[in-house]
Symmetry: C2
Subunit: 434 residues, 2 copies
Amino acid sequence: MSDNQTQSDLQKRIIKQARAARLAAPAIASSPLEQRNRALEAMAQALLDHRGPITEANALDVADAQKDVANGSLGAAFVDRLTLSEKRLGSMVSALRELVAAPDPIGAEDQAWMRPNGLRVAKRRIPLGVIGIIYEARPNVTSDAAALCIKAGNAVVLKGGRRALRSNRAVVHALRQGLEAAGLPADVLQFIDSPQRQSVQTLLEQEDYVDLIIPRGGEGLVRYVSQHSRIPVIKHYKGVCHVYLDASAKAQRSVDIMLNAKVQRPSVCNAAETLLVHTSRADDLLPQVAQALVEAGVTLHADERAMAALKGRFGDKCVPATEDDLYAEYLSLDIAVAVVDGLDEAVAHIQRYGSEHTEAIVTEDYSNAEAFLNRVNSSVVLVNASTRFSDGGQLGLGAEIGISTTKLHAFGPMGLKELTTTKFVIRGDGQVRP
Amino acid sequence: MSDNQTQSDLQKRIIKQARAARLAAPAIASSPLEQRNRALEAMAQALLDHRGPITEANALDVADAQKDVANGSLGAAFVDRLTLSEKRLGSMVSALRELVAAPDPIGAEDQAWMRPNGLRVAKRRIPLGVIGIIYEARPNVTSDAAALCIKAGNAVVLKGGRRALRSNRAVVHALRQGLEAAGLPADVLQFIDSPQRQSVQTLLEQEDYVDLIIPRGGEGLVRYVSQHSRIPVIKHYKGVCHVYLDASAKAQRSVDIMLNAKVQRPSVCNAAETLLVHTSRADDLLPQVAQALVEAGVTLHADERAMAALKGRFGDKCVPATEDDLYAEYLSLDIAVAVVDGLDEAVAHIQRYGSEHTEAIVTEDYSNAEAFLNRVNSSVVLVNASTRFSDGGQLGLGAEIGISTTKLHAFGPMGLKELTTTKFVIRGDGQVRP
């Protein structure tokens, strides 16, 4: 069989799967919440029942990855993310069960009105239809993402990373049994069982069958997906989050918020990457915050005015910032530091260098707090709180499917509601248009 | 100057314009409603003041188009759409003034809640940022689309059809003067002054500066834009709208709704394209409705069961339907007709052949009405009313920017609200994440 032949068979299989998901979608879209919840519980139970085959499959994936770590072509952290320990499997089961308690994101009519001709119009929340999730290593995404889509009444097509292929296959096998046990068609959960990159491209072309693509992974994956997709994509690029310490900022609060925003978990998108300080506080507050950061292991990349204020007291833990530093998403124990003349310059800096993700102001000044909330159009804007609250769970959205950094459909942390849309439901008694 | 040089200059100019729109966006995003309304009024006045140059420019566009009509390369209807008569200019002015009365789509916080740690969270409606509109002949779209974007606090980049270039240039010149008269930067309105197709491609690549693309035009334009854009696109494809006459449908009501849905304006997307009739009414109601349609000049494309019921009584106004007829968006005095066994088959038919645009049921049966509303997930679903109500103005959304046939961000008729997004506004008193 030629390569072309093989590729064509793979394409046919993916098209068939996307079509099967589309055909199964109405069954789950019209299923009552009780049945979708029963399915989540059965999926959790099936993961427990299939624990054996899942961990065996995972061990094979891990063994292959370890070979590549040994020959230096893969980082050791990868193996950790790939491994489905007893504890991780337990977390997958808990996540499914917690979702049972979440309220139904579909069915509600938040708005309804009557037209002058007596037509009654309502906007009713409905599932999106079929959602494609394209992700990288972690096999727990397989059950987490599938469960969120299913809770919201959607069919789902999963394409995981090639190094987790056997693990994902075993997890999906269990989850589909759970769906069937609850009387839902197993076809609402499709898994693209192929290590080939071409399979991603084929999935991205199924605009007749798939309503939304969510890529979960690094910037390379997200860029590839968004440039090649014919289907709408919800993207997460980067988070260059700012904390601005205003003239009236309380000192201890500034230290606490800045440390939490930078140090608590530096590798995530809602960690702070730039510290802006009002010029009137360059000589008292800035050195105090800088001291705390340096003690926590952070390297400061200071602009000219910040360098002058810090007077070289932190040695090689405080280096001159380049223009690139002001744009940087470090995801490490590094932070850019700049002194600004006031709120206007802080807002202008954020508009110029920011990524519209999350920004915080620390201030006691009412007008400046409100002006910051009004003028900064990032997805999350905070007064006197850490940027680390920019997270679906922390904001009370329930489960989080991701954080959107583009403005269409969803902007910022996304919960179950963002996996739905609305239709107009209209009740008449014979109206025709004049 | 070489061709490459020219193209590169064009690209640079478009990138510069997109960037200028992005830089001007914060000024309009933070402008109070009063100022945006003053701008709309000033734009209306500027159109009146520039009536002379606008009609002169339009006359040149029309003259060129007429040459192509004369040599047969263009249809005569095109010239009509292109012509800016006194009356059309008056409508453009009225549309701007009517928009002044619309409520502000930005600023509202529809949802707000408190977290257990005391953080106050709200979702506030904000402008999308920069919106690109790519459209074909009608020069009135230039002012209509610009005004909608501006009312919703957005900057806008317009790319009109090449045959209306001089008309659009003159209209934009006037509108920008109106913006400046109200103290807003003229740069919030950008016009791509080029007849070249390449300019569309360049615009579609400015994902750093443009947040949303709305193509307004035929299926070819929409497909081109959605396949080439790196920016999210809100699409309108086709409307294959169904009317289902249930077993209990009232006869006169069925005739009225069906005539209105098919005949009142057959060329639009919310006109009915398929009539479905319950088998128990194939011998009484179907012939009566068919008679009314044929008298109104409609050709029936009947499936086997409908053909049998109609017994050839309409001669060549009733022809056998092919499979393609059931998928057809005729946009003409043609309709597909099929007999179904009941609600289940009607819903299945709509899922198979429909376009998820607009579907109506005529029934007196409570359970069937509710089941139709629940099970049909098209953007607009109606009971006992004409499909022609699937329209922003008719549904009370105020001005309409278009009808989305994809489910992301907006589904169905779109008003000003669909030109906005939301940000999370969070008020704390020192909270950090544990």
